[in-house]
């Protein structure tokens, strides 16, 4: 019995492990290796072993990253965009998720369906749709510029700007913030809010002392689901951004597909991954410490 039990366990957990090894772990290792190699003469990679029979491994691409400040600047800009996206998504998604969680049970499924409805159309189509919404001839741009003209300010382009990139980033990632927040808020016990009110807490205190701290796991999950993809995105700046709105995702894509400098592209990818992990770790650490302080009522 025990043997079949073990076999069954392997049969169930084996395929996903093999899948992850083949398509995640091995490619990641290949990328780490590529970051230490020399770019080929016509793109791609130079042979791993040179004519003298010695392995051709070096840290030149890393040196380049740390000596040319433009890349660090793009990194910082990408982090700022991802952070803003996350914050704006949180501010919009929280009331929305709370509203759905508190609406009658029979309406909740419909409301959730509406949240994920945009996924039914293609990602790129949704991004291109923003070109029309933000275009210079669209009602929005004309209203805004008419308003600015009133105050004597010059017309501003909405499309092909950092603004357009941010608006679309928020739009695309919003459901990823709403869903984990809803899943969390929906489980909250009304008795806790009754108790808080009974103990003298007004509406704001009930939210800030009870609902919000208890929703933090949902906030963290939503923030991770928004921040990480927003950090690496390249399609939105490509389509809606201006020439100065390239983010790190665009640079990486450029290195692999246009400049064909695979080692440098690998270096950028690795730095991005490590930076994102470090940030997530820092956030988790801060989160754990602040909850402990709050818990004791200090």
């Amino acid at each position: 019995m025990r043997r079949t039990g073990t076999l069954g366990k392997w049969l169930v957990s084996g395929p996903p492990i093999v899948y992850l090894l083949l398509f995640f772990a091995i490619p990641a290792l290949i990328m780490v290796l590529a970051s230490f190699r020399t770019p080929g003469e016509f793109g791609g990679l130079a042979p791993l072993v040179d004519e003298a029979g010695k392995p051709d491994l070096n840290v030149e691409s890393y040196v380049r990253f740390f000596t040319e400040p433009v890349y660090a600047q793009i990194f910082v800009k990408s982090f700022v965009y991802a952070l803003l996206t996350t914050l704006i998504c949180l501010l919009i998604a929280y009331p929305l998720a709370a509203l759905i969680a508190r609406s009658p049970k029979k309406h909740r499924d419909l409301l959730l369906l509406l949240v994920i409805l945009p996924f039914w159309s293609n990602f790129l189509i949704r991004v291109y749709a923003w070109m029309i919404v933000l275009g210079p001839q669209a009602a929005l741009a004309r209203t805004v510029n008419g308003f600015l003209d009133w105050f004597g300010a010059g017309p501003v382009p909405l499309l092909f700007s950092g603004f357009a990139v941010l608006v679309c980033l928020v739009y695309v990632h919003l459901p990823f913030m709403v869903l984990p927040l809803y899943a969390n808020l929906e489980k909250h016990d009304q008795a806790l809010l009754d108790a808080a009110q009974d103990l003298g807490a007004n509406a704001w205190q009930r939210f800030w002392r009870i609902t919000f701290p208890l929703s933090l796991p949902g906030v963290y999950a939503g923030a991770a689901l928004v921040f990480i993809p927003a950090l690496g995105i390249f399609a939105i700046p490509d389509i809606l951004g201006g020439p100065d709105d390239s983010l790190i995702g665009n640079v990486i894509k450029q290195q692999f597909l246009e400049t064909r400098d695979w080692p440098f592209g690998s270096v950028l990818s690795i730095v991005l991954t490590v930076a994102a992990l470090a940030l997530a770790g820092l956030a988790a650490w801060i989160g754990a410490h602040s909850t402990r302080r709050e818990a004791s009522g200090a």
Partner: protein, 361 residues
């Protein structure tokens, strides 16, 4: 003037009237219990005192002030909720400090008051624990400490012991009595458990279908139930119902089908022919193996058809000669015996006229 006055309070949910014109006056320092089966309106009444529900009619006065305009957070009453409702993300200290912080108490005072409240419920030193690290009884005590720390005028308790096991419940009952005596705060206690109500309360309001059936001290509720509902709901009771055949000299005779004429001492104006009931507690009946030497006011013969052995007492179910069923209880206190009768034994049931309690109607 009573501390808490409930004046003709009514609450309807659609066609259903949960609380129907209830008036009560609860005194300062009293342990007052609202007792009744589920759906009798006791919890709705409690929620209206706390402010979570609004009466459709009537007034609730605290110290003579109408509470209608005050939201729950502005009422000087606190509630102990059925499932404790402790904040899971705060420690015991954080939970008990919560109402103090809401009242903008100085941090130094918070510390000493929390320590004092935890001491009152015998949880000193538990401040750093989280609710999930506590047993059911400890959680209950934290909930009580949290509700008492600001010294409210009234403490509302909504079936606070329902989730505890029997042994712990008894311990907590004794603690609650002592705590209430110690802090001197008015307790309004909601329960469906009549033994709990009898053990804890100074006064009990027995509720049914949104009405107060009887408002009295526990011993009077038990011994002199005013309605059949109260007699039946409180403890076990033989309800012997039938037409009144005679009423003279403080003695009422009721012709009970399947049993016979039962005599009961009662000062009642009831005329023969009207329906009445005799409430007779099982422990007031004496069981004999042979006919008693001195004949009692009521004496019937029957056969033991079943019994429940409880250790200290045995409850016998006796089928009378006419086919009626009567429950009788006898203490297993005789030396050298476990109990007195077996199934099938012929027995005599007897009780004096004063043992029963007459209920008109």
């Amino acid at each position: 003037m009573a501390l808490l006055e409930i004046q003709d309070v009514t609450r309807r949910f659609g066609d259903f009237t949960a609380v129907d014109g209830v008036s009560l006056a609860i005194e300062a320092g009293e342990f007052f219990t609202l007792l009744g089966p589920s759906g009798c309106g006791k919890t709705t009444l409690l929620r209206m005192i706390a402010g979570f529900d609004v009466p459709d009619g009537g007034r609730i006065l605290l110290n003579g002030e109408d509470l209608a305009s005050r939201p729950p957070e502005a009422r000087p009453v606190r509630t102990v909720f059925q499932n404790y409702a402790l904040f899971p993300h705060m420690t015991v200290h954080g939970n008990v400090a919560f109402p103090l912080k809401m009242a903008k108490t100085a941090p130094a005072d918070i510390r000493s008051k929390v320590a004092e409240a935890l001491d009152d419920v015998r949880l000193a030193g538990f401040g750093k624990r989280f609710p999930h690290e506590l047993s059911g009884g400890q959680k209950q005590r934290v909930a009580i400490a949290r509700a008492l720390v600001t010294h409210p005028s009234v403490l509302l308790l909504d079936e606070p012991l329902a989730a505890l096991d029997a042994k712990l419940r008894e311990e907590m009952q004794i603690e609650l009595i002592n705590l209430q005596k110690e802090v001197g705060i008015t307790f309004v206690y909601v329960t469906h458990d009549q033994t709990e109500a009898l053990a804890l309360s100074h006064r009990i309001a027995v509720m049914s279908h949104g009405h107060v059936e009887q408002l009295d001290a526990p011993s009077r509720i038990y011994s002199f139930p005013r309605t059949r509902f109260v007699a039946d709901f409180i403890g076990t009771c033989n309800l012997l119902v039938g037409p009144v055949t005679a009423n003279a000299g403080g003695l009422v005779a009721v012709a009970v089908p399947h049993l016979g004429t039962v005599k009961v001492a009662a000062a009642s104006e009831i005329a023969p022919g009207a329906e009445g009931a005799v409430a007779l507690r099982p422990e007031k009946i004496t069981l004999h193996g042979t006919a008693p030497a001195v004949s009692a006011d009521n004496d019937f013969r029957g056969t033991v058809s079943d019994f429940l052995y409880h250790g200290d007492v045995t409850v016998y179910l006796v089928t009378t000669e006419g086919g009626g069923k009567i429950e009788a209880l006898s203490a297993n206190s005789a030396a050298g015996r476990t109990k007195f009768f077996e199934v099938g034994d012929a027995v005599h049931l007897s009780w004096p006229a004063a043992a029963g309690h007459f209920i008109a109607g």
